[in-house]
Amino acid sequence: MAVGWVKRSAAHHAVSEIERVEKAVLETSRMQLHKLVEEALPELEMMIGWAESSDPLQTTPIFIRDAKSISKLTCGPLCSQNLTGYLVKPPALDSVPKDAKPIGICVKGCDSRSLVALIQEKFLTRDRVRIFGIPCRGTVDWRKVEKRVQLLNVKSATVEDDWLILDDSGTTHKIALEEVLSRKCLGCRYPNPVIHDVLIGQSATPRSTDLATTYRDVDAIEKEPLEQRLAFWQSELDRCIRCYACRNACPLCVCQDKCIVETREPRWLTQRAGIPEKFLFHFIHAMHLAGRCTGCGECERVCPMEIPVTLIKEKLNKIMEEMLGYAAGLDPDAVPPLLTFNPGETEI
């Protein structure tokens, strides 16, 4: 097995000092988080955050009720999951009485928009949550890591400055973070939580401030002729195994068990495994998120078949921004655009 060293850029040697600082910042953020949660926990019903899992490259959501577990909390580019869905989906919180104390939750920039959308749609009231906002410089897509180096038995994964450092069975891999960030992060406009009670660490610089950067991948598809786009989606969606992970991971797919893709009353889909079924399933998912999707990318992250399903919603988000000037998850008082109308817009 070849050693997976990534070539260091010439510039890199010069910034090792900053690298140490960056690492320190991360460590500090984590300590700051622990401290803040420790202070807040007595006033909270529970704290939802990220903890290390058996795979050092991926975190797992953790639900903390007693102070002993606070040390398990972590933050940083490996904390990819959007935790906000747990606030509204059974039974995670079934045991929590409605009049209980607020629930603490860690959110990145994109996660915070989901939270805003959930508050906006009245699934949640603002005072039910204590929001620990964590500015984000992007999260690691472990599949991109795996595509660069063969992962056998990763013992540890740490982020130092712009690098992801892996210890895999005694071999050290150093990979540029930029190259393994999730696709959605590369056009991120909101790395800093848009809603929060406390903010941990320093604010991050948006990677994008314009539609072109944010929707670059959408544009890449749209540049292709119609037939090619169809061929592309046929080949991508053909892999869909209808495991519904994309749906279940979506914090705004609030129907969950009642989703119409599984019912026969009404009966939108059959059990057949043909491309039309898969297309319609993803249409249903996308159309139900039109004007609501906050672009957190969970659907794509969880897809075991690596279908770029977030891209479908990105296109609808782009339509909403261009046609109706609306981006979801920014204003808790706004009405999602497809739930309202404007008689005057004759030229939309």
Binding site: D55, T59, P91, S235, C243, T263, Q271, P304, M305
Partner: protein, 353 residues
Amino acid sequence: MAVKIFIATDRLDSVLEKLSTKIDLLIPASLKDDKSAPTGFVPFVPGTAPAFDRQTTTPLKKALLPQVETLLRFEYHKDPQGSPKSSVTVDDQRQVRPTLVFGARPCDVKALTTLDRVFSNGPYVDPYYVERRKNTLFATLVCRQNDAKCFCTSVGGGPADMEGSHLRIVPVDGGYVVEALSPEAQTLLENLADAPDSARDAQAGQIVEEALKRRVGELDTKGSPEAFRKRFDQTDYWFQMINQCLGCGVCTYVCPTCYCFTITDEVENLKGERLRSWDSCMFYHYTLEASGHNPRPTKLERYRNRVGHKFSYIPERYEGLLGCCGCGRCIRSCPVSIDIRQVVGHLKENTSE
């Protein structure tokens, strides 16, 4: 008796092409052009590059239990003269072609022993499965490289376990040594390629030797059925273990031993089909009764049932056989990093915790 051949890496495609004239071939391959894309078992056509270097994303089971298959076709016949009576005819014709799965992993093939018990050893025999099973041969790749999520030896398998296999493929320098383990497999190997030279033969033997000794995974499943029963009503335990579960069906759909299915009718005017398709015990509708009652209404009961099914119910029903082959796919694919080894491993811990 042992027939062995050596297939050089650069000859693999042509040998497979030759083999495919004798029998339909399924090989592990990328599911799109990109080599690093998800993989699965696909029908071999010349030029398809096998993906032997890693475990497939989707499991082998679909070779025997397709995601969707037609159980039967029915047709209503009307009296054109206008009598209101119509009659129905039903047929369950099946066509199964002999198939060789070339390059499955031992864990995948081992998983079929679980399916065999369910589909062919009960009071009722599933003819669809059984006919495919009878007509499918397996050339199994000795597994040289496992990752941190594999745990086959913990559940009774192993990287060189050839139970249920007809051919053994050993990756050696420059190619593969393929050895027939059954008479029908011998005929398949005839005139395909030369026997391996002694160095390669020796290397293959050594690799198998090593693989047989290798321990993969540290999960101890002894006593799991009893421990599960004790844990069954401890809601806190299950919350703690799987509160983060999203309730999706990834783990069941990528699992080689999960076999649960549903049956639905689809009809167009007078003709229709009864379909069998994969279902998942993680889904709400799986157990939803017409009355609205659902014995497993939340993911807690559903995940608990999944663990129970694999590590308690199947062993109880089928003399200790586990419903898990240790392939680790559910761990690899879980969006929230639930590790079934931890859930099962903790079953036996001090229950007062």
